[in-house]
């Protein structure tokens, strides 16, 4: 039995005001794996046309919270609200039909099928946006040369660019990306930043996780810090840098990690 600590240290998403209307809210979320409580009354929210960075040390539950918000994982308690509609048992397929796109850390492109199969399937399912074929999307995101590559042989950078090409075909209202900057080259990171800015400028609400602080802070409009299983809205990246516990417990840890040889 898991304790439900709602009301102890809950952070109300409504306290923070964003630019556009709120596209996704996961509020008061709790999750335990066996006896290990990962999330306690955690919240995540993003507005249209803004980028929310969900930051925290490894193993603090960022992926779990993102998976719950995406409807991949069922929380022990808490609700997910997408485009104004509450989803007590949110499921990815249902949220995707309403405009959500989830880019997992791994697992979107698997097996021996070529990349073209994934893009063509997505285009057939929803019909590519006007004037954009799946080949155009592949070209735009630099994976045209990898169209015949088996999914399991795609490199990290190709996977992430292919995921964005897939998202391009879906034109999502909300994009959840788990560690999009992990394992990619600096030039890929630059392209990724430009693409995500383009999505944001078209009104897409984006949630990012990861530890590439410079890239993420360059993109983010709002920072949410996940520590001890609960979330803390820190405001803009500039305001987050002025938050001593965040600087001490996260930023110094993240910058130390970047200096280590890989």
């Amino acid at each position: 039995m898991t304790d439900d600590p709602r009301g102890e240290s809950g952070h109300e998403p409504e306290e923070e005001s964003g630019g556009g209307s709120r596209v996704l809210v996961a509020s008061g979320v709790g999750k335990s794996y066996w006896r290990n409580t990962v999330l306690r009354n955690a919240s995540l929210w993003v507005d249209e046309g803004t980028v929310t960075a969900l930051l925290g040390r490894k193993g603090t539950g960022k992926t779990t919270l993102l998976r719950i918000a995406a409807g991949v994982l069922r929380p022990d308690y808490g609700t997910v609200m997408f485009r104004g509609s509450p989803h007590s048992h949110a499921r990815l397929c249902r949220l995707a039909r309403e405009g959500l796109f989830y880019v997992p850390d791994r697992g979107l492109f698997t097996g021996s099928r070529p990349l073209r199969w994934f893009l063509a399937s997505a285009a057939r399912r929803h019909g590519a946006p006007e004037g954009l074929s799946w080949r155009d999307a592949a070209r735009e995101h630099g994976v045209e040369d990898a169209l015949d590559t088996e999914a399991r042989h795609l490199s990290g950078g190709e996977r992430r660019r292919a995921a964005l090409a897939l998202a391009e075909l879906r034109q999502p209202a909300c994009l959840l990306a788990d560690e999009p900057f992990r394992g990619i080259t600096p030039s890929d990171a630059e392209e990724m930043t430009a693409t995500l800015k383009d999505f944001r400028d078209r009104g897409c609400g984006i949630v990012l996780t990861g530890h590439s602080v410079p890239e993420i802070f360059d993109l983010a409009d709002r920072v949410i810090w996940l520590t001890g299983g609960t979330t803390h809205g820190l405001g803009t990246p500039g305001e987050a840098r002025e938050h001593p516990p965040f600087v001490r417990e996260y930023l110094e840890w993240a910058s130390w990690g970047r200096r280590q040889p890989r």
Binding site: G71, V72, R91, L92, C93, R94, A96, R97, F101, Y102, P104, R106, G107, L108, F109, T110, G111, R113, W117, F118, A120, S121, A122, R124, R125, H126, L166, R170
Partner: protein
Amino acid sequence: MPPLPVVRSLVSRSALFWAAIRAALLPFGVDFGRPASAVLVVTLVTILTVVAMRRRGEHLFLGNLGVSLPVAAAVMGATAAALEVGAASVGRLL
């Protein structure tokens, strides 16, 4: 309904699992034409194909397309059921 390439992939995988399970059950005397054995085989095919999909994370791709796992499972179960009916019909003709 899933897009055509996805349906084709689900059907071919289901057929492969059906053949493998049927071959594996032959030594145990589970033959064609009996409703109980057909239900067993269809159930096994459906469960094993869904487990394989989840292990490989394919449900995330399908989910992003708006296709739920139960729909994919239904397509694979229906394929196995059709193969059972087909095999039983051939058996009766022979």
